[in-house]
């Protein structure tokens, strides 16, 4: 899922200053699951802003849609928008942009910083697992992604900075290649490491510019 974290509250207050009627919109998708932008957080943010902007007589309300990254699901906001002059979106960058696209004349302010694609390793703690490089090699690396989890994104590792299973950048960062080695050893597939992985085609990643995916077989010819 996409993990987002709350922007510093001072920054949010600075961004919404000047608006007098603000609708805080949560998203029921990934950011609800990572506890930073769901219905509960939308209410929290509305109360906090309400108190912080009390002297400016700003009116605030909050709501949450099932997913902000779907135009159809944003439809329910339409009738309410006349009473607000700005939307504070607690969705990821995708949701914020969907809202901006769907409501061309409403200012949209992001409340979260979209951080990474990851998972909860335990309640309240999230770690990055995928960088959407566009060319998955997890079969070679025992199901542990060196692109997302090695600080250098090395395809042939580990490097000399691997110390006791930790990365040289921080004692809290596990060396992905150490993990890969341990898991390959357990699987009896250490021979995978003898295969040199050739340079990756990064054109499938961000280096190739904004990406688009077309699922074949969904759109009749001539309708695209």
């Amino acid at each position: 899922m996409i993990v987002g974290e709350l922007k510093p509250v001072e920054e949010i207050v600075a961004k919404v200053k000047g608006y007098s009627r603000i609708l805080v919109v949560g998203c029921g998708g990934c950011v609800t699951v990572c506890q930073t932008g769901g219905a509960r957080e939308a209410e929290t943010m509305a109360h906090l802003l309400g108190m912080a902007l009390r002297d400016l007589h700003v009116s605030l309300d909050w709501t949450c849609v099932a997913r902000q990254c779907e135009f159809e699901l944003l439809e329910e906001l339409k009738p309410r928008l006349a009473s607000f002059d700005a939307i504070l979106s607690l969705a990821c960058g995708v949701g914020v942009q969907a809202v901006a696209e769907f409501f061309p004349s409403s200012p949209v302010i992001p409340g979260l910083n979209t951080t990474f694609m990851g998972m909860p390793v335990r309640h309240g703690r999230f770690e990055e697992r995928c960088q959407a490089c566009g060319d998955c090699i997890l079969d070679l690396t025992a199901g542990i992604c060196p692109v997302a989890r090695c600080s250098k994104s090395l395809l042939n590792g580990p490097c000399g900075g691997s110390q006791n299973g930790k990365c040289e950048i921080s004692a809290e960062v596990e060396c992905a290649w150490h993990l890969i080695y341990e898991r390959l050893e357990r699987l009896g597939r250490l021979d995978n490491l003898e295969r040199l992985v050739l340079p990756k085609n990064w054109a499938k990643s961000r280096d190739g510019g904004p990406r688009r995916m077309v699922r074949e077989g969904l759109v009749p010819d001539g309708e695209e």
Partner: protein, 464 residues
């Protein structure tokens, strides 16, 4: 108003343990409802006096389901599944026992007992030894805490002191070795906190506890999803409904006291004997709003939440979490923490007519409910767990004054340390308020039901 649900339950009970307590308990329960008495080895008690089923030579492999409908996997040559409504674990009483005691009668010796960090069970054994040895020897006892909380404990302690045994209290582990320049003489150096300086005690015989490993019940904790405080609660109640662990892990109870515990546990499982149990319903999950984030599933201190797949669900996953009525104790943690606000109270109390500025766990503040003459508005919650960030912020925002939140003292929460959870919520909110330049604050107070309304009034600075 309260809402109750009639729940169907399996009246059969599993008693797990190979000791005499388990045998006696299984016998009592077999008189009232079906029971399976099982353990990893066959215990040496006559099965003729027991009318239920038995299963020996298998180990507990897994436990699925909730109170009233557990499926227990027993691991033998193959996995065998049994269906029961309740599970009672009866661990062997275990703990450290004294080692180094002189084998026969000794006289004229200096005997040093080191009893640091030990339990009542060790003291039950130690006092009788100390008393008999002190008659003809010099006896020192180095201890961090004299434990007398068992039958005749106080009297034995007095007798030991009257016989001349000297108790030295300290919070440091003594240094034990040979005397300087005399390798055949032993001595212990210890900080005597009573006189505030280190003393040296020469000794001939050292007596100290040694841990004896038995089936201590701890190994079942993870398997059964039990919390850390479940070893010694009366009468074996755990954080999970339908699972009991026989208390008194150290084995200090007298036979009569054991009878009381056995009767109390048997009375608890007797609730299920008819196959129906009436349970109060506190919260329910609105499946249409549920994001299936598993927050409630992971956090529930009573493991009352389970997955539920249903094609009727309108949410993204056609799957949602569900609260099991029989297992839920109504602490409201799920209600406060649900990020999708999908959990609703079954019975919502009417909104308070005046804005409260004290939000309190009703267990902590039980003494205050009927408090009179207090100049504040109190709103009660089933537990600190259910005092969520939003209810605090709402109260702050509406009242525009500092809000006090009241939780039980450390270790007194009935729902697995929810006072600690409230503490981190309060810390986060105060940080956010500070960073936003808001002067209002949330103040956390500890309180117990034994305290009077005046105590709270003093704490919130409103004593008249």
């Amino acid at each position: 108003m309260r809402i109750y649900q009639d729940c169907q339950v399996n009246p059969r009970v599993l008693v797990w343990g190979g000791n005499e307590r388990a045998w006696r308990l299984a016998k009592v329960i077999s008189g009232q409802q079906p029971v399976i008495w099982a353990f990893s080895r066959k215990p040496p008690y006559p099965a003729t006096q027991f009318s239920g089923q038995t299963a020996w030579g298998k180990d507990l492999a897994y436990v699925r389901g909730k109170a009233g409908r557990f499926t227990v996997g027993l691991h033998g040559s193959a996995i065998e599944e049994i269906e029961v409504g309740g599970i009672i674990i009866v661990p062997d009483p275990a703990g450290p026992v004294l080692s180094g005691l002189p084998p026969g009668e000794v006289a004229g010796c200096s005997i040093l007992f080191v009893l640091m960090g030990v339990t009542r069970r060790v003291y039950t054994q130690a006092f009788s030894q100390i008393i008999s040895l002190a008659a003809k020897n010099r006896v020192w006892v180095i201890t961090d805490d004299v434990q007398v909380g068992f039958a005749n404990g106080e009297a034995l302690y007095s007798t030991a002191r009257a016989r001349g045994a000297v108790f030295i209290r300290t919070d440091r582990v003594p240094l034990i070795g040979t005397a300087a320049g005399a390798p055949d003489r032993f001595e212990a150096r210890v900080l005597d906190t009573g006189i505030g300086r280190e003393i040296t005690l020469p000794y001939d015989i050292l007596v100290a506890p040694r841990w004896e490993h038995t089936d201590d019940g701890l190994r079942y904790h993870e398997l059964l999803g039990l919390g850390e405080d479940n070893l010694d609660s009366y009468p074996g109640r755990t954080n999970r409904e339908g699972i009991w662990v026989f208390p008194d892990p150290e084995g200090v109870l007298t036979a009569a006291e054991e009878e009381v515990i056995i009767a109390a546990i048997a009375a608890q499982v007797a609730r299920m004997a008819t196959g129906r149990v009436r349970a109060e319903k506190y919260y329910e999950i609105d499946a249409d709003r549920c994001a299936f984030c598993l927050t409630c599933f992971r956090l529930c201190p009573h493991q009352a939440v389970e997955f539920h797949r249903d094609k009727l669900f309108q949410n993204l996953y056609r799957e949602a979490c569900r609260i099991d009525t029989l297992s839920c104790r109504g602490c409201g943690l799920c209600y406060a923490e649900c990020p999708a606000q999908a959990i609703k109270k079954v019975v919502d109390k009417p909104a308070p007519t005046r804005i409260p500025h004290v939000l309190a766990c009703e267990n902590a503040a039980a003494g205050l409910i009927h408090g009179q003459g207090l100049n504040y508005e109190l709103r009660l919650f089933p537990c600190a767990a259910s005092i969520g960030e939003n209810v605090i912020l709402r109260t702050l925002s509406e009242s525009n004054r500092d809000v006090y939140v009241v939780a039980c003292y450390q270790g007194k929460c009935q729902h697995e340390h929810q006072n600690r959870r409230l503490q981190v919520r309060v810390r986060r909110l105060n940080t956010l308020l500070d960073r936003l330049g808001i002067t209002l604050r949330v103040k956390l107070l500890g309180l117990s039901a034994a305290e009077h309304p005046e105590e709270l009034a003093t704490k919130v600075g409103e004593r008249k």
